[in-house]
Amino acid sequence: MSVHLSESTSETRDGGPAAVPGQPGAPVLEAVPVRHPGRWVAGALVGVVTLSVVVSLAKNENLDWPTVWHYLLSDLVLSGLWTTIWLTAAAMAVGLVGGVVVAVMRLSPNPVLRVVSGAFVWVFRGTPVLVQLIFWGFLGAFYPTTTIGIPFTDVVFFEGSTSDLVPATVAALLALGLNEMAYASEIIRAGIQSVDAGQTEAAHSLGMTPGRTMRRIVLPQAMRVIIPPMGNETITMLKTTALVSVISGHDLMSNIQAAYAQNFKVIPLLVVASIWYLALTTLLSVPQSWLEARYGRGVAGARQGAFARLVASRQPKEPIA
């Protein structure tokens, strides 16, 4: 029997009892979700392709897993790994601290500071980091001696050979750190500018100086905007340190290259490098989500980490009236 939704539903023409929707005795209408056959096709297709790639990788004898295991924890790789880690950390530290300085300079009322910081960003963001890396690596050819003193006078505190003063690792740190400074400053500037001007006014009205306002009120709020892109920058930096191999920086990639230059086991050694880079980038996402939760405090709808959710669940949130 079909259910009529017309006005005359209650009057039945074939003599049987009428089924009235919404009244006792009405048949329960079951909702049937729409079928998606396309999803099954797409899933099967991608599954088969993926499986074939995995199988071909596993069967490929050139991959040479014994060599991979042999090198994975070797001293050569581990020492390179260590260099990669500290180089990433140091370059990001230089980039972050310098980036705050450059960002504040760009927002300064002083036109000289604005122009100089703008030019800095223009140069270091506008040239490839590979070029900058080689440039710093060959600094000794550009400035054979380095002199530290008071500009435009004869006062000299220190004078020495540039190549002694700037070995490959220092050159790598300079190149990566200065490049990062340019990018970080733009991220930090955007973060600072995202904070409502009323925040600064409120802090000023309470007698806080501009410096204290920046440290206590503006930067903590800017962090919420700054952290996600800076997390990306850190992951990018970790991988960019591989470029240091062009000036033999003894990082993970340099050491891997040194190894396969001798034994020609290029593919297994690149797999070793990939495993370590993947492991490190995976680890890096942990502090990022923790920091995002930390600086998302007080923001409705901010993404919370597992820890923050745990804490929040213990103090009931008041509804917004």
Binding site: Q199, A202, H204, L206, G207, M208, T209, Q221, G298, A321
Partner: protein, 276 residues
């Protein structure tokens, strides 16, 4: 000090000398205050005196310069000419050789500690709880101990009826609650003058009452207040002085009964007929 001794009582500052206290010197005195934004003359000669313990309400259509004038009082806006003093001291400037020399940031900040301000959009610090908002300036600027500051903050939250919201972040508070926390935050610095910039304009109508109650309470305690508002009822009930502004000048000022009930100027009458 002439202020009565209450929880909000003013602590005599270093420059509240013997001659300032009790001499009948007004808390706020403006003489021919002018302010331009580029070519746009926003204030074209403001004269106003607000006595100690008085509540002054600034009325006027939008764009009349009342908020700008209020912001000049604590130097959030810089005046271009004229004289503007709070408790006898020029705001943001020092007078030397017939000119106003702008003070350095630190000195301006020190003067602002004595002037509390409440904003239309509350401007609570969203990354801090209500309690942290209130203790921020006393601990950071005044170097009060965390314990004393928190004790004072809890007393202030109690005063504005939000004792149970100490740990709430601003995003979890209603507009009216946020504004009352903002009032408590300003009071935590024990100011001798409170400025209110349209404190109820961003609120839902049913939340306005709580904020006005907190302000009434404050006025009854003898706090000197300058209030920009459209709440004519509040002005009539609480104000000692009502000033009507239009076109960057004070068109007329006086007791609320006079200005609000029997205004002398056509412009005041026209404005009141629109808002009443």
């Amino acid at each position: 000090m002439t202020t009565t001794s209450t929880t909000y009582a003013v602590q005599p500052g270093p420059d509240a000398g013997a001659d300032a206290a009790g001499s009948g010197l007004p808390m706020v005195r403006a003489e021919q205050v002018c302010k331009r934004f580029g070519q746009n003359e926003v204030l074209t000669g403001i004269d106003l005196e607000v006595g100690r313990g008085e509540v002054a309400v600034l009325l006027g259509p939008s764009g009349s310069g009342k908020s700008t004038f209020l912001r000049c009082i604590n130097h959030l806006e810089k005046i271009d000419s004229g004289r503007l003093t709070v408790d006898g001291d020029p705001v943001g400037y020092v007078e030397r050789g017939g000119r106003l020399h702008e003070l350095r940031e630190k000195e301006v900040a020190a003067r602002r500690t004595e002037i509390g301000m409440v904003f239309q959009r509350f401007n609570l610090f969203p990354h801090m709880t209500a309690l942290e908002n209130i203790v921020e300036a006393p601990t950071q600027v005044r170097r009060e101990s965390r314990r004393d500051a928190e004790e004072h903050a809890r007393a202030l939250l109690e005063r504005v009826g939000l004792a149970d919201k100490a740990k709430a972040y601003p995003s979890a508070l209603s507009g009216g609650q946020q504004q009352r926390v903002a009032i408590a935050r300003a009071l935590a610095m024990r100011p001798k003058l409170m400025l209110f910039d349209e404190p109820t304009s961003a609120l839902d109508p049913e939340l306005v009452g709580d904020v006005l109650d907190a302000m009434r309470d404050l006025a009854a305690d003898g706090m000197t207040m300058v209030v920009v508002t459209h709440e004519i009822g509040f002005a009539r009930e609480v104000a000692d002085l009502v000033a009507f502004m239009d076109g960057g000048v004070i068109v007329e000022s006086g007791a609320p009964d006079q200005v609000l009930v029997d205004p002398r100027h056509e412009r005041t009458r026209a404005f009141l007929s629109k808002v009443l």
